[in-house]
Symmetry: C2
Amino acid sequence: MLKTNKRPVLAVDLGGTKIIAAVVSPDGKIVSRKYCLTLADNGLKAVIERLLVVANDAVVQSKIDIVGLAGVGIAAAGIINAKRGVITYSPNLPGWRNVALRDIVSEKLGLDTYLINDASAAALGEHRFGAGKGMDNLIYLTVSTGIGGGIIIDGKLYSGSDGCAGEIGHMTVDVNGPRCSCGNSGCLEVLASGTAVAREAVIRLNQGETSSIIELAEGKIENVTAETVALAARQGDKLACDIVAGAANYLGIGFANLVNVFNPDLIVVGGGMSKMGNMLLSPARKVVKQRAFKLPAGTVRIVRAGLGSNAGIVGVAAYVFDQRRA
Amino acid sequence: MLKTNKRPVLAVDLGGTKIIAAVVSPDGKIVSRKYCLTLADNGLKAVIERLLVVANDAVVQSKIDIVGLAGVGIAAAGIINAKRGVITYSPNLPGWRNVALRDIVSEKLGLDTYLINDASAAALGEHRFGAGKGMDNLIYLTVSTGIGGGIIIDGKLYSGSDGCAGEIGHMTVDVNGPRCSCGNSGCLEVLASGTAVAREAVIRLNQGETSSIIELAEGKIENVTAETVALAARQGDKLACDIVAGAANYLGIGFANLVNVFNPDLIVVGGGMSKMGNMLLSPARKVVKQRAFKLPAGTVRIVRAGLGSNAGIVGVAAYVFDQRRA
């Protein structure tokens, strides 16, 4: 059997749409990878069963005996008490309240198991194997349906006193702004996420503004997504460009807050919205130059994530390796 | 001569109004303490000379030979490049731009010298010797003329890539809010500092609202300060209570942002405004319960600072001890 520090990890990414399971080696290489739909509506028990099945499939595919694994890492969306291994609340997993997922999985698989937030995992993944290699201080944001975050300080994941730090999407930046899913008003998430972009487009189309967005959505306003808006913006559609500029401005304000507070080397932006690339990031970088103090604004680089949808998987694996070494 | 790790430190707090110098022992005890006015208007050279004189006075008073000191720590207001020992910009020291104060003082005194931000120093002081003893993750805010901040992570000062992290007062919380001294709009500082409280009082008195504030300011609107407003609020004056409630609300929003992002054990509030005590902090705590996620909001305690105006002095001394040990 391999020495503990050479053994691979079983990494699981539990999202609202799908569950990915992979066996990951200490150098971040994905040995095997399987996924299935989450089908969250089927309820807690069914989801956990599907998770265990797909996890087992990934282990079988890797041809590594389960007892040869160093441990299990689970990355999940939501407010995670990483210290206790509990999903306290998850907007993507309706009905999950205070679920001790770590202990449930650990008992079923007979392996040491760790549970962290998915954006925290992605932050660690980008730090070890992606866009943030070699950086001491890094903030990761996933800008997608919502906005999640992860914080790397002195090369380590910072997860706070309960293990739920990094909820950057729920920084208030406009106290009089629209209501957020978290119950507050004017969070970064409600102003700059993919959901925000789509919502703004629907509002302005309903107000009668003309735009190619509606054609790209096949004439149906209910088909309008952030992707449709991005596509229209690329084609030079004025309304779409306006909406993207608005989201970029808010994103820039959020970045400037992070730059003033953290003075990081790097901000790494992942998630669906990051596919807009410089159409989104260039104006956001300009806002940082305008709003943040000169010294930290001159230091920080703001870049796209490098690992795509595997960031969480390799990141949570890195987390398990770190814990086993500690 | 004492062993290096038992030797005291010469600690200097360079503020816009006064310069404090003290000899501080490794257990945080102040052996001697002197101060003088900064007289910043007399210019850079004159201020540095005064700093060196008061520093020397403190050493003489301590009866410790200067060569018996472990080093010098300087805490200064402004955007400090702690890595390079440079004050890049300070609102309290007009005309100071990119002043390599660390090297200047080190050369003059012949001792290893460190330069950090004053709120960072106070954060470390409160962590080692004050309200934050034993806490892993702590955010310190000084709410005074401006709002400064310091971040303690895993028991150590987090100062970012250039050493200028912690500018919590310059988080935007209301993008459409009033203009801040930093050039932005809606920073926490422009909404919840002592300056903000006084400004709001002047505006509303000028609009003709009646209040005992003006009597407490001896009939002169130019005498109105945050202290006057606090005093009037204590006496139940409606306008004053309103203004304090407004500042407390914004402070609570700032705290909620910190709670969601950092999931800290503790937020320690110092500075002149903290003397309002629970009149300010109780409503701010309520806002945190309303706005932050339940898990981190349930963990964090929000308390007044314990060390008063000595936090910076003992904090920067602790910083030097940490550096010498590292």
